[in-house]
């Protein structure tokens, strides 16, 4: 378990990237080492309807600048408050939390990173880590329609990007599991983050093709450090905390 910090981050930039997604860049006096797939708990202030911190996955890190990026979907009052943070505002952050993805892959084959919606956020950092280790990275990203597609330039710098949209407006039509790349899929491991139905469908495909597969789960959380036992998920070994035993689980651990 990595050492956890509670730090005030300074907002360097906070910009809308689509009508519902924004990217927040925070800078810290010291930036701890962050594993791909780890997350942060952000404190929400001045919002009477919000009491708990909000768990947000870490999108990208620039250790040389002591900066990290968070790609956030505006869902409720907590994320709405975050979206209104201005340059030089402070945001209190507890991080890095959770186990992160297992990037130690033995086979010398490409890896496939499958994301849906806001779930694509942690895959950028993951792709950078895998690519820096000399691994060929494919991203398979699913969106509802063209207008929902998030900026993908950074992903394209890291690996090859494949897209599905449910209406077929961009890329292959359908869900990520309908993409044509599956015909000849030969990957060392699949890493995924997105809606649970998407990851469940993906786990079926991964099993059929006998490819190792890790998924990053989300759940409502309170503490984020494994104390309150609110964010549990069912595993073959009973209830486990998404915050500390996860958020990343191998599909073999899950009754999917």
């Amino acid at each position: 378990m990595s050492k956890k910090y509670q730090l005030d981050g300074t907002v360097i930039k906070n910009e809308w990237v689509t009508s519902t997604y924004f990217k927040m860049t925070l800078s810290f006096e010291t930036l701890p080492e962050i594993k791909a797939g780890q997350f942060a708990e952000l404190r929400i202030d001045e919002t009477p309807t919000v009491f708990l911190r909000r768990p947000i996955s870490i999108h990208d890190v620039r250790p040389e600048n002591k900066e990290m990026d968070l790609l956030i979907q505006k869902v409720g009052d907590g994320t709405a408050w975050l979206s209104t943070r201005k340059e030089d505002d402070k945001v209190n952050v507890i991080f890095p939390l959770g186990n992160g993805f297992d990037t130690d892959v033995a086979e010398n084959k490409p890896v496939l990173l499958v994301g849906g919606g806001v779930g694509i956020a942690p895959l950028l950092h993951l792709g950078r880590v895998l690519s820096s280790e000399g691994r060929k990275v494919h991203f398979l990203l699913g969106f509802r329609k063209e207008a929902d597609i998030l900026p993908l330039n950074a992903y394209k710098e890291v690996g090859e990007v494949f897209i599905t949209t449910e209406d077929g407006s961009v890329g292959d039509k359908g869900f990520v599991t309908n993409h044509s790349l599956w015909k000849n899929a030969d990957y060392a491991r699949i890493f995924s983050c997105g809606p649970t139905p998407m990851m469940k469908a993906l786990s079926t495909v991964a099993r059929e093709k006998n490819i190792d597969c890790e998924v990053s789960l989300e759940n409502k959380m309170a503490c984020g450090v494994g104390a309150c036992l609110c964010c549990v998920t069912q595993t073959h070994e009973g209830h486990k905390c998404v915050c500390t035993d996860g958020p990343v689980f191998n599909i073999n651990e899950l009754p999917w």
């Binding site: 009477p48 009491f51 759940n219 409502k220 450090v225 104390a227 036992l229 549990v232």
Partner: protein, 303 residues
């Protein structure tokens, strides 16, 4: 230098700030954020005679100024605690207190007996007030006779400091407090969570898997303060106050209402180092008001 030390039965606390069961894990989860040697004590997770998987999820609902939980005493059982957790926590430089829960008097007694043998655990908090388990738990805490019966049985089996955690889900908490005092409880802690519920209007379904759950956080503080005050007038044993304490001012209010010590619970989820700030803030308050000891403000509400 102000004196922050207090006594609860035979238990000496270096300061009156402890953490509430179920909100601080076994302490290890918060090691990066606090200094145990500056805490009065840690009350670890509710422990039962056998392993419990807890309730199905969702277990959490956020509400304005608080939250509902329906964890349902998930824990690996007292034997697991003794063998795997105790060897670590006994070395902490603070009091480690075990919260003991059960579904029957026999379970409570058997669990308390096992904890009694652990030299490094100076006290137990007997949980007769968990609202999230079907059998037992709160059932013992909502009637005077059942509360008295379980405390009487545990008192025979347990010879160190016995704190009894009371349920607010009763008509008259003072009479429950008197009943457990009469059976030999060294202290009462209050309040456990208040039973509540949350509904999703869009889906027309309850938010929690168990429909109802336990409400905690600053929204319960006025109820907790009122109950501490009522109990303080009813019993002579020391009171451990808890319920929505987020900062030192909240803590001071509990001392004035009659609490000898306090527990911080849900606030740990928002600020994992909150206990350190509360200890500092209590000290500042006492200095500012020229008190030499925390004992000078306990129960000193001016009417």
């Amino acid at each position: 230098m102000v004196d922050l030390s207090v006594k609860i039965g035979d238990l000496s606390l270096r300061n009156p700030v402890m953490t509430a069961s179920g909100t601080f894990g076994y302490g290890t989860e918060f090691e990066d954020f606090v200094n145990f040697s500056r805490m009065g004590g840690i009350i670890v997770k509710g422990t039962t005679i056998r392993h419990r998987e807890g309730n199905a999820y969702p277990r959490l609902a956020e509400v304005p100024s608080g939250m509902l939980n329906a964890v349902g005493l998930q824990n690996k059982g007292v034997d697991y605690f003794c063998e795997n957790i105790y060897p670590t926590v006994k070395n902490y430089d603070t009091n480690v207190i075990v919260n003991v829960s059960g579904a029957s008097i026999e379970d409570y007694v058997a669990t308390a007996e096992k904890i009694n043998d652990l030299e490094g655990i100076p006290a137990i908090e007997l949980n007769i007030s968990c609202p999230n388990v079907k059998q037992g738990g709160m059932a013992f805490g909502t009637s005077c006779s059942a509360a008295a019966e379980v405390v009487k049985a545990v008192r025979k089996a347990y010879n160190k400091t016995l704190i009894v955690k009371l349920s607010p889900n009763v008509t008259d908490i003072a009479e429950i407090a008197r009943a457990v005092e009469a059976e030999g409880a060294d202290s009462v802690s209050l309040i456990n969570t208040i039973m509540g519920m949350a509904i999703n209007a869009e889906t027309r379904k309850p938010v929690l898997s168990t429909v109802t759950g336990g409400l905690s956080g600053p929204c319960v503080k006025p109820v907790a303060l009122r109950m501490v005050w009522q109990v303080s007038k009813a019993v002579n044993i020391p009171i451990v106050g808890l319920g929505g304490i987020m900062n030192a001012t909240d803590a001071i209010e509990f001392f004035l209402a009659g609490a000898t010590a306090i527990e911080i619970g849900t606030a740990n989820f928002i600020d994992p180092s909150v206990t350190m700030k509360v200890v500092d803030g209590i000290e500042d308050y006492l200095k500012r008001h020229n008190y030499e000891s925390i004992k000078q403000i306990i129960g000193k509400l001016e009417l």
